[in-house]
Amino acid sequence: MGDLELTITRLALSKLKLAHKFKYFILGAIFYLFLLQKEKNRKIKDGGASDASSAGDDVYPLF
């Protein structure tokens, strides 16, 4: 299990209430499958060091 997957799991387990644990597992799974995994792969491909998204329009020149 990679770092991201482990963090998602630990976040869910850290919740105090059982219902919250369940919700965070489900949310983590959904977001991981559709969004977080893609971002992680993009960061690996770009060699990015920060958690910043690389998607978006440039701000310069001023929009």
């Binding site: 963090t7 919700k23 489900i26 977080l36 990015g48 910043a52 998204s53 978006g56 329009d57 701000v59």
Partner: protein, 336 residues
């Protein structure tokens, strides 16, 4: 069915919109949310016993209708709930007092929960029609954390980020965020991602949050916010350059945060001045005009006659002090 599933999954995760916020905001394609126009109503808050009268003009800003623009140039003020005037009547706000003291047209476009990122976009997208000669950003130092939050009061915000080449990027508000369900879906993701990043840094803002130990004040969490201050620096540069290009005087007014009125922290590792210090370092390095309200506020504050409400918002006296300091600052700089 999909809506029910989304509601179930996001019920506790999404930030619950404050009732007042929901009543006074509307979707905005540039800033995510902005004031709803043409509102006139009394609002009961827990800041004082009497209800507060709130009137938004046709631009969605709390204030009189702007029918004419001073050809000499106006003063535009922008910020969060302090600028919007939470708990005070419209004519008690620092902007109205500043207008009375200077004789200049002062247009206040502040809104509760506005982040510095949204302030940047609003300055570039919404102020031109007011012919500003001076722009004053009222910045509550703690509120710098808002630029890390892409989902506020049920609205999706534009999100600034820094790419691997150190360029500032902007993810604009997606079109489907104009629909409540769209906002809820993408907002839930933003909220989750933020919580995940905080969790990595050992930060938990969801359970047992204590404002006296907010992680933004903690020296041992300082690394988590390095990215925040890097973003802040780049966004400030954008504002500075915009103002320079348009021949606008630009001033940041730093408020005193609530925790500073409660006395010093219990540990040398908890510094209520930390966001202010880091922000001032950025402003000094960039040569940005700024004024710090802390000393004036603390000097005027007493337990019997405070400058703030119980939650830290400026009361009428606080707005008076704020306005007086601003007026002196503008005069000293020769801007009025």
């Amino acid at each position: 069915m999909i809506k029910k599933i989304v509601n179930l999954l996001t019920k506790k995760l999404t930030i619950e919109a404050n009732n007042v916020s929901q009543a006074f905001y509307k979707f905005d394609p540039d800033t995510g949310f902005w004031g709803a126009p043409n509102i006139k109503r009394y609002v009961q808050t827990d800041l004082k016993s009497d209800p507060m009268y709130v009137s938004h003009n046709s631009d969605g800003n709390r204030g009189v209708e702007v029918n004419e623009i001073d050809p000499k140039g106006t003063i535009v003020t922008i910020g969060g709930s302090h600028s919007w005037g939470a708990g005070v009547e419209q004519n008690q706000r620092y902007s109205e007092l500043l207008s009375d003291e200077t004789g200049r047209q002062v247009i206040n476009i502040g809104h509760a929960s506005l982040g510095f990122d949204q302030v940047c976009i609003a300055i570039m997208k919404k102020t031109k029609k007011y012919n500003p000669r001076i722009i004053i950003i009222e910045q509550y130092p703690w509120a710098v954390v808002r630029i890390l939050n892409g989902y506020v009061n049920g609205y999706v915000k534009p999100v600034f980020s820094i790419d691997k080449d150190d360029n500032l990027k902007l993810k604009k508000v997606p079109k489907f965020a104009q629909f409540p369900l769209g906002r809820k879906c993408i907002g839930s993701y933003y909220a989750y991602k933020k919580e995940l990043q905080e969790f990595r840094s050992g930060i938990n803002l969801q359970e047992n949050y204590n404002p006296l130990t907010d992680p933004v004040f903690l020296y041992w969490k300082i690394n988590h916010y390095d990215y925040l201050y890097k973003l802040l620096l780049k966004i400030t540069i954008v504002i500075r350059d915009y103002c320079r290009q348009n021949n606008i005087h630009f001033l940041i007014a730093l408020g005193a945060i609530h925790q500073q009125f409660t006395g010093s922290s219990r540990s040398d590792l908890i510094d209520y001045d930390l966001p202010r210090k880091r922000l001032k370092e950025i402003l000094n390095n960039l040569g940005i005009n700024h004024v710090d309200m802390t000393d004036a506020m603390l000097n005027e504050h007493t337990e019997i006659d405070p400058v703030i409400f119980h939650d830290g918002h400026l009361n009428a006296k606080g707005h008076n002090v704020f306005s007086s300091v601003l007026q002196k600052e503008l005069a000293v700089r020769g801007w009025i």
